[in-house]
């Protein structure tokens, strides 16, 4: 005889709960946590390096680098700037999750930090499914990826707070309909904050840095 058992339990609830713990930990230390997501090659690390270059000395940053391969290329670049970095090698897994984030936070000198930026694995699908416990989710879209991405990767566009449109210095050379791109973004996420910039030339970074500095200050006063 078969018996049906009612359950109704949320899948990945344990990840969400651990993410909430990570958040509490950051909150207690008044650290702003950012989860930076993007496709491979969108310029996550270059964006981070330019941000480090412009970061006021009063803001102490720690970086968590997520990669599928056992390399420290990205973390090496961050450390070369004098910023503490932890490299997570996911061993082929396509995203970071709350457990890996917790382990990485253990390795950072949290007591000395004001800001933790997590560079997620380059991927537009999987990272959107796993909360890490950060305060803001940031997506970097870049001009060479094409203007149709919001229409194809709806989930990640829906779950973000900030959109960085990177590599705007390439706009004159590529067919990228900014109106079409932004229409898709607005449909999915009308309230997000958007910055258009170039990590190469530095154009547009003033607005992004102003936002970042204000958010770090806000975290301190909460």
């Amino acid at each position: 005889m078969n018996q049906k058992v009612e359950i109704v339990r949320k899948i990945l609830d344990s990840n969400d709960r651990l993410a909430a713990e990570n958040r509490k930990r950051l909150d207690a230390l008044k650290i702003l946590g950012l989860n930076v997501m993007a496709s491979p090659g969108a310029g996550k690390t270059s964006f981070l390096l330019k941000t480090i270059e412009r970061l006021p000395e009063s803001i102490h940053l720690g970086v968590i680098e997520g990669d599928t391969a056992p390399v420290t290329i990205d973390a090496d670049k961050i450390v070369a700037q004098g910023v503490p970095a932890v490299q997570i090698n996911t061993g082929g897994e396509c995203h970071l999750d709350a457990v890996m984030t917790e382990m990485a936070l253990d390795q950072l000198p949290l007591d000395d930090l004001d800001l933790v930026i997590i560079e997620n694995v380059g991927n537009l699908i999987c990272p959107a499914v796993f909360a890490l416990g950060t305060h803001k989710n940031i997506l970097i879209a870049s001009i060479p990826e094409g203007d149709d991405k919001p229409y194809k990767y709806t989930n990640i566009y829906r779950g973000i707070d900030v959109l960085i449109i990177n590599k705007i210095d390439l706009l004159p050379y590529l067919e990228f309909r900014m109106d079409y791109f932004k229409q898709g973004v607005a449909a999915l996420n009308p309230r997000l904050v958007c910055f258009e910039l170039s990590s190469k030339t530095g154009e547009g970074f003033d607005a992004w840095m102003a936002w970042l500095i204000a958010e770090v200050a806000k975290t301190k006063t909460v």
Partner: protein, 134 residues
């Protein structure tokens, strides 16, 4: 400045983590009953959840081996996403593509549902076994 390196297990796509959680939930719930086999698992996974059924099934066949769930059938309920137009109030369903409001073509939309991911219920075999303990 040093770089600690953390290595994790050799996983693949995010569906594996989802599938493992489904197995964990099913086994935990079945433990409350006197059963030695789970025959069916009913899932609701919204269309906006970025989950591929076949992927879940593939992982399921591997990780459910030698558990009470071995051979259990997965039933997928994939409800469409429901959007509401902020301009004219029209509610409509979306299966895969992002489409403007069918009534007024506006892209000013609110998402009402479509991101669900849950185990609804399981079917267990209780033949020759006592009534549930709880």
């Amino acid at each position: 400045m040093y770089i600690p390196i953390l290595k994790d297990c050799a996983f693949d796509m995010h569906e594996l983590a989802v599938t493992e959680d489904i197995l964990k939930i099913a086994l935990e719930e079945a433990e409350k009953y006197n059963t030695n086999r789970i025959s069916d698992i009913f899932l609701t996974i919204g269309r906006l959840s970025s989950i591929v059924d076949d992927s879940i099934q593939f992982y399921w066949d591997h990780i459910s081996k030698d558990t009470l769930c071995e051979g259990a059938l997965l039933h997928f309920n994939r409800p469409p996403a429901v959007f509401k137009c902020n301009k004219c109030g029209q509610e409509y369903e979306i299966l895969d593509d992002l489409l403007p409001c069918p009534a007024c073509k506006s892209f000013d939309l609110e998402i009402l549902s479509g991101n669900e991911m849950q185990v609804d219920n399981i079917e267990i075999e209780t033949e020759g076994k006592d009534e549930p303990e709880s």
